[in-house]
Symmetry: D2
Subunit: 340 residues, 4 copies
């Protein structure tokens, strides 16, 4: 049984474990003030081209989302999200638990677009309703799709014009940037959004997300707010060391590239065999439409997630590859796939 | 420069790293539903003598405290804590941020006692005040002291009589149980409290606290509440594996014992040299009173925390030992200490 | 200029003012424990046929909604509402500010129905999502429509079967019960819902909603929770006296009946003149579709709310009548209406 | 049985009822945007000498406190209060329920002083603790004492120097300003604090507090935040009309003066009879120390609150007078008092 369920099934890339091992007996300062975290910050700042960015390490995505959103909004302000957004559906009401409404905007293939944001703004007309103040997007999205430079620029423009904070969830930002359809760089992203994070958990780390605050106005007292949400880890250096390993050379990108590559091979095979896709494949998450008998057959050999029923006869499944996905397992999957 | 600042300066015990390494390429189910987490749970259940206890792994102490307290209280209910309690002072208002008042009770050497709890109950007389519903204690305490079986039993009794939930913060429970003054067992604790946790971060793990829910009435839907607070880790198995390493034999206890032993040696030397202590030394946190010139002198060679000024001439400092503290560094500290 | 904007433009029915005046120099106990509040409770208990119901007086609708919902849900639980529900749209995120997600269900003419509730339950499958625990409906609805006994019974049944709390917002319950299409009684409502309120503000009182808790399991400590939300008024007797005036005879019903009667006359005239309605008129809120030139013409003489644009040429407006609407103003409105 | 329990036992001053009656059939705009509310605002602005102050009417004190504090603080910021402060003790955790810790400072006779505030600031040293950002005081205090101009100026100065918001709870501000020991004016208060409120409920209104925002930086979006807390009343004009009646001439001051006068007479008698006071009498709340047999005897004829036991033989009771307290009832109380 091989799992294409997600990209967090295995531990960490060996290079990360090695650096943890190597630095194990050093005495490091707690709470992210250590030299490894600082080195990681320097690597990331260089990469994104912003020497003044504030960078904080937080152990997981939901924790990062709820911390950022509650830190930057006043109580009556809401965050706009795609209906498919992670904060809207899959965080057990984490954002609302901090007091903020998640207001839904229309989306296409998991992506927000300016007109949808503007429609939300227009609808929220007075003090009897919440006040939209932040836009939440993810890249890659929950559907594995990615924003083009033009699309992100247009969202940036509407946010700037309307005074909205643009927050990008980058739990899978490596996969987005390494997509063959991508035309964005880390520098572009840092220029176009106010705050974003670089996901470690889903790209080869044991855990950890690197929160990057580009907008100077949003930096004040964030360590207080991270601490208050329980997100300031005593052994913050455990995350600092991992990001050091990921960014001291191009490991972060190679891992994401590998995951995408594995997905591409599967995509090629599926296409050749006549399968269609619920959304166009771009990154390491694939959403093929499969007949139910194929689904049942595959499920005997592979773990994956059933995304939704299409009709009586077929369903959309989700196949996820990762830094750890082997060529061999991909070959076995392809072998198992019948023509349709 | 050697640090006696805290017990989370180094990485993890090598045995933990080895098990992480060994299991690195396994594919594990996410969110704590994996086999390693399950094995850890079985080890812990056996140790505490409660086959039906629910056990959840959460990455840090503040996150565990805020999750447990907000999960188990209704909005108008408050938690009683010693004035020195971690939730009252050092969590940046994490508990209040979930909507609950932390009500302070008098304490002795960091410990709550039944009369102090009863005084709080008596004072809170009607619906214009919050309703006390939970008692929070830690063992060992913020001052390194420990509860005796009799003391914990008496607190248990008042909680039972008054319908209060008893929650024990065990970030340093290993040090408490391995104290030479201790007469409690893990089984006792599980019998006497409703919910507690076993700290990993401060006893040799990279991160992780094992939350143990003994009282059946408090188990419902806790995974929802852990998820909502951002505390349900995708790679939950990273914590599961570490607790497996700690509890598959007596590693957890040996590590705590070592930390206490190092502290004992320092205590002996300090005593012999004429130093007094702010509270009696029991575990791996020592609070000697030192003249200011000694403080300054020590600070050139060692890192430690200045706890409070006593008077113009002297201060209380905090020295903390850990699983990683070496005999050599202890010797160097002792050598450096002048007689007074 | 006459206003059909809403049903809270005027003060209070003179009978209410008289009773306030008459009892003005009595010394009453604070916080709703006075004899007038108690008398009101007795009148209401008799009316709804439940001697054991708990009744609390709260100054406004949003305050009642946020207090009830946050009092009865655990943090991970959400409330299901029609997309048009007041708590979803027009309370500035009041419910989310207490930590709970408002989950939207499909609705027809402002009303929820069992299949929509069941669809929400089915979708919320695990601990990564919020847990539906309460259903919020209003009667009459935001669109002035009402639930039939059969419809409410079916919602009651699905709630009972699925363990959901059924909460009915009765800000305009008088108008619902006095509708000529209504087949529900106060006793039916008390039997079918767990908790509801009887609106005073919109039916002739200066302010005040009577919160009725029918389900014994939901009564505990509500006075604490009302106090905590700032909803326990020092001079609670000011509300008690008003509800006494409304319920010591049938004043409450006569006021609602009058409002409905005025709306019926307008409905008749509009129908005769060829206007259609966005939803079928039932109570004191009418939603006629009017050509834009009529809208502009009417707006010179009358205040009303523009509900939504239908197309380039026409809009839905909202006309609201109340206990204080005069026959004369209704006549003037009808006179002003052109045929279409 | 006559009650000296509090200053909210009776309805409203007849002049207020008359204005409610007179304007009863006017059609007013909802949510505080009506002409009466606007007139009241103008009267108050003139009185406090600040034409640009924002003024909002909120139905009660706890609701005002929780709304203001949560509106103006970021999540990690706390409010400093005297240990005896209303928000700390008698609001059922209302402030904490909005997410903020109430941090206690030492007080003298119910009053905060600069050194106590500075001690709190000094103690809160880093991001592991909450960040003090607001100072909450009340005038008159919970103990009936008042701030002198010098005392308030010194608190103002420390707040200005340290960047703290100064919030004054004026539920009984009329009694403070009419005290014979007072040297503050409304203009002074408006100059020295950032935000305060003028209590109606305890000075002759049916309900209502006038929230005055002096600091321009704190005005933004307050109507959203008031709405979100359920404090924006549909019939806001009911409060507007009452404050109009109170401030169109000097009614507000006369009512407070009367209450103080009645208290003074009692104070004189008590003093002559040999009673001492727990705190020096200044306003309409008196805290005499009475032997237990006197307490029991008085309790047969009068209602009052027992504040605290002094020792085996005597207790502090609280006697409160109001705008409605009659000379006759004061005479009867004095007659009933035995010499000691």
């Amino acid at each position: 049984m091989y799992s294409f369920m997600n990209d967090y099934s295995e531990g960490a890339h060996p290079r990360i474990l090695e650096l943890l091992y190597k630095s194990n007996y050093e005495q490091n300062i707690g709470y992210g003030l250590d030299v490894h975290s600082e080195k990681s910050r320097e690597y990331i700042r260089k990469l994104i081209g912003r020497q003044k960015a504030d960078i904080h390490f937080i152990p997981g995505g939901t924790l990062t989302n709820l911390t950022v959103i509650s830190a930057l909004l006043r109580p009556h302000q809401c965050v706009i999200s795609a209906d498919t957004g992670h904060i809207n559906v899959h965080e057990a009401g984490a954002v609302e638990a901090t007091g903020h409404k998640v207001v839904i905007a229309a989306s296409k293939e998991g992506k927000l677009y300016p007109e949808a944001i503007e429609a939300v703004l227009k609808y929220h007309s007075d003090e009897h309703m919440v006040l939209p103040k932040m836009v939440y997007i993810s890249n890659s999205t929950e559907l594995g799709t990615i924003y083009s430079k033009d699309e992100l620029t247009r969202i940036h423009n509407v946010c700037k014009e309307k005074g909205l904070i643009l927050f990008l969830d980058g739990a899978r930002i490596g996969n987005a940037l390494m997509s063959k359809y991508n035309d964005l760089t880390f520098k572009d992203i840092a220029n176009l959004v106010d705050v974003f994070y670089i996901g470690g958990t889903k790209n080869g780390a044991l855990l950890g997300e690197a929160l990057v605050v580009c907008n100077d106005n949003l930096k004040e007292d964030l360590r207080y707010l991270i601490k208050q949400k329980g997100a300031l880890m005593a052994k913050g250096f455990v995350m600092g060391i991992q990001f050091e390993a990921l960014f001291q050379d191009d490991l972060y990108f190679r891992l994401a590239k590998h995951a995408n590559k594995m997905a591409e091979i599967i995509t090629g095979a599926l296409t050749e065999l006549g399968y269609s896709f619920y959304v166009p494949p771009c990154t390491n998450q694939l959403f093929p439409v499969v007949p139910n008998h194929v689904l049942e057959f595959l499920a005997q050999k592979f773990d994956f997630y059933i995304y939704k029923k299409i009709d009586q006869d077929s369903s959309v499944i989700r196949l996820v590859t990762s830094w750890a996905t082997t060529q061999e397992s991909v070959d076995r999957l392809i072998e198992a796939l019948p023509k349709i």
